[in-house]
């Protein structure tokens, strides 16, 4: 295999059969959209149910009596008190408090299931091995695919396949057989909608995908719609909205740092960059991630400079698109904290022209998670 050859997920042949437009993403040849196009797939997910192949993402098992505390030594979140069957958003930090990756952790009966970003999975695995490999066992799961079934009708679809998944609420997971295939299902996702992420043995992934696509509510959706959906949901894309130079405080992710890990908490600190993050928790960050809503039609994209009415630089856009739901430009940007205020009007520079935008609350489209 040449160094430039792209990896394929277990659903590669199915993507081609469905007429997908394939693009390189994080070293994988992935579907950006199917013949209906990104906007139709976006609406499909908001109105019914969409099936995404996210098998490029990294899945790891972490086992051992010390696994929870070991994970806490790398991430400022509460893993120790995470109850069996519960899932939690987390991030690995570096010594400056920057974000190495963001991830999902689910405590299962005998292990933790960790799902990380595709582009980071090799670095994350090395990071885990280096820092906590002596405290617990880290088992990459390249033999598992990951499917995401998302949308207001996802639950009706999946309970038809196995009624048991109906017990799950947002950010919980469990083992379920789907079409006689052993799967691990969590009720979570990256679209802002109710939905599920399904870890499935690679050799059975296509069979399960075909079962789900055969349901009348479901159509396939690609990475293009996944991106517009997550942006409307206000969810960060690693490598764009968060990276090694942004801290959780700057990124507005302090909600993910539980009290027990903050100063005064029983297990405060003890993770890389704790002093930098604790100092920002106490006195605030100089820059903040905000949502921006465009007041004109011009899409504002990653890299666009944000200025005030005098042209003074205030920050930059980290992702943006024309929102199919609100039908206006939406973006995430880092702004100087004194301008990161609700309804504050700023300008994005696009091709030499200033486009007015307003600091707006996120999500841009309401979350519709199932909390029971």
């Amino acid at each position: 295999m040449s160094a430039t050859e792209l990896l394929k997920t277990p659903l590669y042949a199915l993507h081609l059969e469905l007429g997908a437009k394939m693009v390189p993403f994080a070293g994988y040849d992935m579907p950006v959209n199917y013949p209906g196009g990104i906007i139709a797939e976006h609406r499909q997910c908001r109105e019914s149910a969409a099936l995404f192949d996210v098998s490029h993402m990294g899945q790891l098992r972490i086992t051992g009596d010390d696994a929870a505390r070991a994970l806490e030594s790398l991430a400022p979140v509460d893993v120790v008190d995470l109850a069996p069957g519960k899932q939690r958003y987390a991030f690995f930090t570096n010594s400056n408090g920057g974000i190495l990756d963001d991830l999902m952790i689910t405590r299962r009966e005998k292990d933790f299931l960790v799902v990380v970003n595709a582009a980071c999975k090799d670095a994350d695995t090395r990071h885990l091995m280096t820092h906590i490999g002596h405290r617990c066992t880290i088992i990459p799961m390249p033999d598992r695919a990951l499917l995401a079934l998302q949308g207001p009708k996802a639950a009706a679809v999946l309970t038809r396949v196995n009624a048991g998944v109906g017990q799950l609420t947002f950010m919980t997971g469990g083992h379920f057989d789907l079409a006689d295939i052993e799967c691990f299902v969590t009720r979570s996702g990256y679209t802002g909608e109710d939905g599920f992420e399904i870890s499935v043995p690679s050799e059975s992934a296509e069979e399960l995908a075909r079962v789900l696509l055969a349901q009348p509510e479901v159509k396939p959706a690609g990475l293009g719609a996944r991106d517009t959906l997550r942006l409307e949901a206000g969810l960060c894309l690693y490598g764009h909205d968060i990276n090694t130079t942004t801290t959780p405080v700057e990124a507005g992710l302090t909600w993910a740092i539980q009290k027990v890990r903050r100063p005064g908490g029983a297990r405060a600190g003890g993770y890389p960059g704790a002093s930098a993050i604790e100092s920002q928790l106490a006195s605030g960050a100089v820059v903040k991630r905000v949502g921006l809503l465009g007041l004109e039609r011009v899409p504002v994209r990653e890299g666009a400079k944000i200025v005030d009415s005098h042209g003074h630089a205030l920050g930059h856009v980290t992702s943006g698109t024309l929102s199919p739901t609100v039908n206006q430009p939406i973006a995430m940007a880092y702004l100087a904290a004194n301008h990161a205020l609700p309804s504050h009007e700023v300008y994005a520079e696009v091709r030499g022209k200033r486009q007015p935008m307003r600091v707006a609350p996120m999500p841009f489209a309401p979350h519709r998670y199932f909390r029971g």
């Binding site: 196009g37 293009g224 899409p299 994209r301």
Partner: protein, 124 residues
Amino acid sequence: MTTMYTPDHEWINIEDHEAATVGITMHAQDALGDVVFVDLPEVGRTFKKGEVAGVVESVKAAADIYMPVSGEIVEVNEGLRADPSLANSDPLGNGWFFKVHVSDMAEFEQLMDGPAYDVLVKNS
């Protein structure tokens, strides 16, 4: 031939050389995906061949529209500005971008004809 093509996937129809119509090709709209915004040039402005005269933006990306020939913009498609998806649904018809008064017909003759453009797309 009244319609010719550029390597950047614009087409130009010269039935009326004082108002030759310019748009993007079927291949271009397919590669871009859902078009959500177009930035059209000002009427009366002149451009040299190869200059950026406009921008077409899909959900996922922005792409420049290059002048296929030198000339003055004499009309822009307000219908496309109002409904950018015309660039997807009818790129060779109602999804045209602008009309140009061609200043040098020799530049038009140097562009690709239909069969040559088809070969370019096939090999891209």
